[in-house]
Subunit: 441 residues, 2 copies
């Protein structure tokens, strides 16, 4: 795959080339079941061909609204949670510089914090804002409450027409509360396809509108994913396709007792890619009492926190590194005459080269400490490369989930807390559950 | 403990009151070995009485410099990694509002990202800055390189005297490269006590100066910790002291096969408290092939990502919730006539009450899903309460680590990657290791 490379050299004491080859027939059959749409959860396979199926008209509409937002507003407040939040956040954070990139996009509706919400409302006083409310149903509690609050805040200062113009709904084509509201209020809207689950939705308008509004190139993001999709379709050999290698290797590691995967990124811009990945992997695989527990770290930062555990703790984990080959900028380590810190051996070296040796040193140390690890090397910090990475991880989790013999596309367990919460909050229809819980707690 | 409450009701199917009582004699002996300073790692017990031992003069000096920074500078750049970064960051994030609190404190030297560093340097152009460089030795790579770069940036625009005034070193009393530089350049400095390890150092000048510079009340933070320390000394009964209850319960859960602990905070302000906690617990317990793997989440955000795994995945985890009883602000769920989203049953309710029922619903759902869980309830978002929480977690990890029969105060595994990195980077003195690694990789 053009901008991604997978290195599995340091798996060798745990997963051999032969082990991977031996899994070829299982992988081939799983692969076939994805493309044939015969696998478990086959009504949620829209993501497979999504990069090819996004309509040019939709992309143009998204870019036009993004331009309108940038021309007319200080901020767009994206209301969404889970898959309606993490894809955009991961992309925007990966491509931004934390201090100097404008914070055009703000997030709300991904928690129930009164202080967080009041802080955002105080911040947007006297600012011009659009709202992008993202929800398939329109009835999820967190974004639902946030949208009610923001509607009140917006309506206060705007004419009815101007208010309607400021809200963009990303929701179901025809069903659900948010669709009804959009139609009733005259909001412009985008459609979340029926066959794409939340955690696979970053390349639908769910992710694309916030990303475009933040000023990033959604054509390049889609192009990266499209090339990755074509590559996957054309290369179904476990050893020749890094997506399948990764899926097969982590399945074998899991079977051998490595039940925690730590995704360790060697750049802070990847922090929220880690958060996105945890939803994709945890929600896809964590069911029926099975699944690799996904954890994420940012190195070298967390080598000074989680490093000790990874090196020497309980030996039930493996690691996947994310490294970036070409950073956008360089910075040379300065030479200091006195050299009191003894670091003149680094003088003149680009900081990224130091970081790269930190990665190599870590990979070797952790492998020696019985933590098998592999590395996904990203060519650069661009939309194209991230598009490839999104598709890489999406396809791989489908394969590894199906190898595990679970349905990677549902999330039945997410409902449990909601049912209890509704019951405890006295939602009509949950009276029996309420009695049960209040008896029990 | 005044501002913290521990609820262990939902452990009942896994850890009973009797189980906890049965551990009393072990806990008593571990407790005694801490206060007697006879336990493993007893040269690093300075944190036990730290809240009592911080000198009033030092606190005044810190507050004076914090005032000077606020009077004269736009930002103070805190250079540090691991324990020299996370305590201050956790405190400042917990007490701040993310959008409206001034970002007086910036962080550097906690990664090796060229883009991050260049972004910070671009951001501080034409701004007045102080630097607080925090390192026991002054030779740790990440902060060492960052300090070299910042010294050059600062020196360029300032007289020698003014430059010296702008750098505050927090380091060893007499040894090490940073102490030597501070003495040579005339930097003002604060001392990191010899008997306090990095991850236990938030209540030393390591944490206190950045926290004071950010505008927060370090007297109240210390008072909270001091009251917690007194409480621990006076209440050594496993069931009567929540610190000991927590330590004993997690030890018993670990022994029963629950090898992952997820710290799940119900407010985003606690995100970096989770990061600080992961270092404290992972680095203290993760050794000799043992230890609970520490993971952290922010709810309800991550109920929509990690929620599925926690509810239904591999059953080797338990959960510790962090909830906040009294948020600083309230916000009522608005009533909407049309009620298309069906949420009028929440109308008029404070968002924190919704959040609290989300917590209760989650705790019950996860317990029913075979994830035993407990809750640490924080009275509010104040310095005093956080001081109590820091001491709570510090004392508890000492007890649980000693129950595990490891030394909770060392971190031998953190060196492994550094040794490799130095060898790969060609540091003088690492020639043999270099040959070994280059042969092997």
């Amino acid at each position: 795959m053009k901008n991604l490379k997978l290195d599995i050299e340091l798996l060798k004491d745990h997963v051999s080339q032969k082990d991977l080859k031996d899994l070829q027939s299982s992988v081939t059959s799983v692969n076939k079941s994805i493309y044939d749409k015969t696998c478990a959860g086959n009504d949620f396979l829209g993501w497979v061909d999504l990069p090819d199926n996004v309509s040019q008209k939709e992309v143009v509409d998204i870019k036009n609204i993004a331009k309108e937002i940038n021309d007319n507003a200080d901020h767009v407040i994206c209301i969404g949670i889970g898959g309606s939040y993490l894809g955009a956040r991961a992309t925007i954070d990966f491509l931004s510089n934390p201090l100097t990139t404008n914070n055009k996009v703000l997030y709300l509706g991904h928690n129930l914090s009164a202080d967080y919400m009041n802080d955002l409302i105080a911040f947007i006083q006297n600012k011009q804002c659009y709202v992008n409310v993202i929800s398939k149903s329109g009835t999820t509690t967190e974004p639902g409450v946030a949208f009610r609050v923001l509607v009140n805040a917006l309506k206060a200062g705007l004419s009815k027409d101007e208010f309607s113009k400021r809200v963009i709904a990303t929701t179901d084509q025809s069903k659900g509360a948010l669709r009804k509201m959009a139609d009733a209020e005259g909001f412009r809207s985008f459609v979340i396809p029926d066959d794409v689950g939340g955690r696979f939705s970053v390349l639908t308008p769910v992710g694309l509108l916030p990303i475009a509004a933040a000023g990033f190139d959604i054509d390049a993001l889609l192009a990266g994913a499209k090339d990755a999709a074509a590559f996957c379709k054309n290369t179904q050999d476990v050893l020749g396709n890094p997506v399948l290698t990764y899926a097969a290797a982590r399945y074998l590691l899991y079977k051998s007792g490595k039940t925690i995967e730590v995704l360790s990124a060697f750049d802070p811009s990847l922090q929220y890619v880690g958060e996105w990945w945890k939803q994709l992997y945890g929600e896809s695989e964590g069911k029926d009492g099975k699944g690799i527990f996904p954890a994420s770290t940012v190195f070298t930062t967390d080598l000074h926190s989680m490093g000790q555990y990874i090196q020497d703790g309980k030996r039930n984990l493996f690691e996947t590194f994310l490294t970036i080959e070409n950073m956008r900028t360089k910075i040379a380590v300065p030479k200091v005459e006195e050299n009191l810190d003894g670091m003149n051996f680094l003088a003149g070296m680009d900081l990224s080269d130091v970081n790269h040796q930190a990665y190599r040193g870590t990979a070797l140390a952790h492998a020696a400490g019985n933590v098998p690890n592999m590395n996904i090397s990203l060519a650069d910090r661009t939309e194209y490369t991230l598009g490839q990475l999104f598709y890489f991880f999406e396809f791989a989790v489908a394969v590894s989930g199906l190898l595990l013999k679970i349905n990677p596309f549902d999330q039945p367990g997410v409902e449990a807390y909601k049912q209890n919460m509704f019951a405890l909050l006295g939602k009509p229809g949950f009276e029996d559950r309420r009695k049960e819980l209040l008896g029990q707690s």
